[in-house]
């Protein structure tokens, strides 16, 4: 290209350029503090519109009042002072999302926190979005394999379900969620772990564990730590959900863990009280139910016409001294499609994961179980229920009749089978084989202390010698007569070599 052409082009561009004046709506800050600001002016502001405070600080309109608007400030509010000019942006709060988010740690605004450089976004998604409507949905039919035998057998979770994990502090709530993420390797699932008000040391540990197990290849962490201001905590689950929706709209399966929604409710209460919204029960604002219901309603199983993506939500709630009848726990229990209830007593008895199988339910997941699992899980549930009824008599020992004793013994064995250490996730066919052996009396003559040993040895035997049967179970997805015969033979063969 020659010089004249360039100059010609430039001249043309400049003559084409029309002088234009920009018209902006502005306001000025009249009060600021604790991450919120009161702004006068901005008469055309929309609810949840983004505001520009200048200097890279943004805010979100939450209250629209007669003479002023109340806004939360995202980021460093020490730069905002009385009289600061605030500009409207005309956009609802949205965050950058995309394929490049995978494997990264981001904050509630989608900005990277892991020091691995900028993330190139593919799109922008609004934080607040109306949940998929009924016409776009279909029933939950595909399972999420958590790799935890107690959950996969008795409290199954389906893709698109919302399953609450509830329990006191230190009962292994996060452990269940992390195990589930670790087990998604190779299952075509994108996992998003949203840490709300967690200690950053804990998050660093979790990231380390996930990296060590190769789980960061399909995981995104949205982090709003304990030291972040309340507005960031309040927005973080919506950010996680928005990132998840991007992948769901692409037809992918997504698992989002909200850890935990109690702290989220507390941060929302803080923001609400600072904005002078009237407090209600336990000083939570009146719309705290809507806060969680609109978030969890965005979990969905879309039908084929809408891409067939799913978004599974695993919210976590921390109870105080086992009180599940407090305000936030009852709210979230009623919103979700079931709960996994963890108990301190069980945890200290050594039953880990400390799942109370009596109180835990899954309202839609059983439709998503594979048939083979259904075949073994039915008997397991029955046996465990009978064991719970009789457990009170267990201390009478030899005074009991034979059938009762047998039932109690079976229950003890099954409890042992359902124990599982962290990061020891199991494949679904392994779970089926172990449970088949357990409910069909193959372990009744083994001493309780050796049950776990038996289980491990059985799995490694089946992986080596019984590979054919295992493969058949995966293929057929059910235990047919033939498979049952082969399975029985294999287990009997194995028992011969196993010293009781």
């Amino acid at each position: 290209m020659n010089k004249d052409k360039i100059i010609e082009n430039l001249k043309e561009q400049i003559t084409k350029y029309k002088t234009q004046t920009t018209i902006k709506d502005v306001g000025s800050v009249i009060e600021v503090g604790d991450g919120i600001a009161k702004i006068s002016g901005l008469s055309h502001a929309m609810a949840s519109e983004m505001l520009d405070f200048g200097g890279g600080v943004f805010g979100v309109v939450l209250n629209l009042e007669e003479d002023f608007v109340g806004a939360i400030i995202l980021g460093d509010f020490s730069k905002v002072s009385e009289g600061t000019i605030v500009k409207k942006t005309g956009r609802i709060l949205e965050i950058p999302v995309g394929q490049n988010c995978i494997g990264r740690v981001v904050n509630s605004l989608g900005e990277p926190l892991d020091g691995k450089g900028k993330i190139k976004p593919d799109a922008s998604y609004p934080l607040e979005k109306i949940a998929p409507r009924v016409i776009t949905r279909e029933p939950v039919t595909k399972p999420v394999q958590t790799g935890i035998i107690a959950i996969d057998a008795m409290i199954p979770i389906g893709r698109g379900q919302r399953e609450l994990i509830i329990g006191d502090r230190q009962t292994g709530k996060t452990a269940i969620a992390i195990d589930t993420i670790v087990n998604q390797k190779g299952q075509d699932m994108i996992c998003i772990y949203v840490a709300i008000g967690q200690k950053e040391s804990k998050i660093a540990r979790i990231i380390g564990e996930l990296e060590a197990r190769g789980a960061m290849d399909y995981t995104i962490i949205v982090l709003a730590g304990a030291s972040d201001p309340a507005p960031m905590l309040y927005l973080s689950p919506f950010a996680g959900c928005a990132i998840g929706e991007y992948f769901m709209d692409k037809g992918k399966d997504v698992l989002v863990v909200y850890d935990d929604l109690s702290k989220h409710a507390v941060s929302y209460r803080e923001v609400s009280l600072l904005l002078r919204r009237p407090p209600g029960r336990e000083a939570y604002p009146g719309d705290v139910f809507y806060l969680h219901s609109r978030l969890l309603e965005r979990a969905a199983c879309l039908n084929k016409e809408n891409g067939g993506g799913t978004l599974t939500a695993l919210p976590i709630i921390e109870t105080q001294a086992g009180d599940i009848s407090a305000y936030i726990p009852t709210n979230v229990i009623s919103i979700t499609d079931g709960q996994i209830f963890l108990e301190t007593d069980l945890f200290y008895q050594g039953v880990r994961p400390a799942i109370n199988t009596g109180l835990s339910v899954s309202r839609v997941g059983s439709a998503a179980q594979i048939k083979a699992m259904k075949q073994v899980a039915g008997k397991l549930k029955l046996d465990m229920a009978q064991f719970r009824e009789l457990a009170a008599f267990a201390q009478f020992g030899s005074d009991l009749d034979e059938s009762t004793q047998k039932q109690i013994n079976r229950g003890k064995m099954l409890t042992e089978i359902l124990k599982q250490n962290q990061f020891k996730v199991m494949k679904v066919e392994e779970e089926v084989v172990v449970l088949y052996a357990a409910i069909n009396g193959f372990i009744d003559d083994i001493v309780v202390e050796k049950v776990k040993l038996f289980q491990e040895a059985l799995i490694s035997y089946m992986q080596a010698q019984g590979k054919k049967v295992m493969e058949k179970i995966i293929q057929e997805k059910q235990i047919t007569k033939d498979i049952e015969e082969e399975l029985k033979k294999a287990i009997q063969e194995f028992k011969k070599g196993f010293s009781k």
């Binding site: 350029y17 004046t21 920009t22 018209i23 902006k24 709506d25 502005v26 002016g41 901005l42």
Partner: protein
Amino acid sequence: MKVNPKQYAQALYEMTQTASGSDLDAVIQNFVKYLGMRGGISKASQIILEFEKYYNSQEGIMSVEVSSAREFSSDERKYIILSFEKITGKKIELHQSIDKEILGGAIFKVHDTIIDASLKNQLKHLHKQLTQ
């Protein structure tokens, strides 16, 4: 009953409507005394602000703040006031401030709206267009 600055300002406006000369002084004195009684002195600055707003809206006056790189000539001033009056149909009160940063042109501020016709802004747009 709690009285907000807006209501104080409205009351003051109503009272001063009919008064003039020494009466006006008395009215304002009484108003300040009343404020002191009600513990409203601390809101004085807000009341003044609201009063200005209310007075302007009642009298059909619009205050326009304009910042430019240099002082306007009286002709330019007149032209600006006239054109604003034509559009809004209100009496215009022009407050000018000098801001060298904007290079040329002017930025007008009416209520919550900023009309940016500065040279700096134009150059920014040109830059955007050329780099696209």
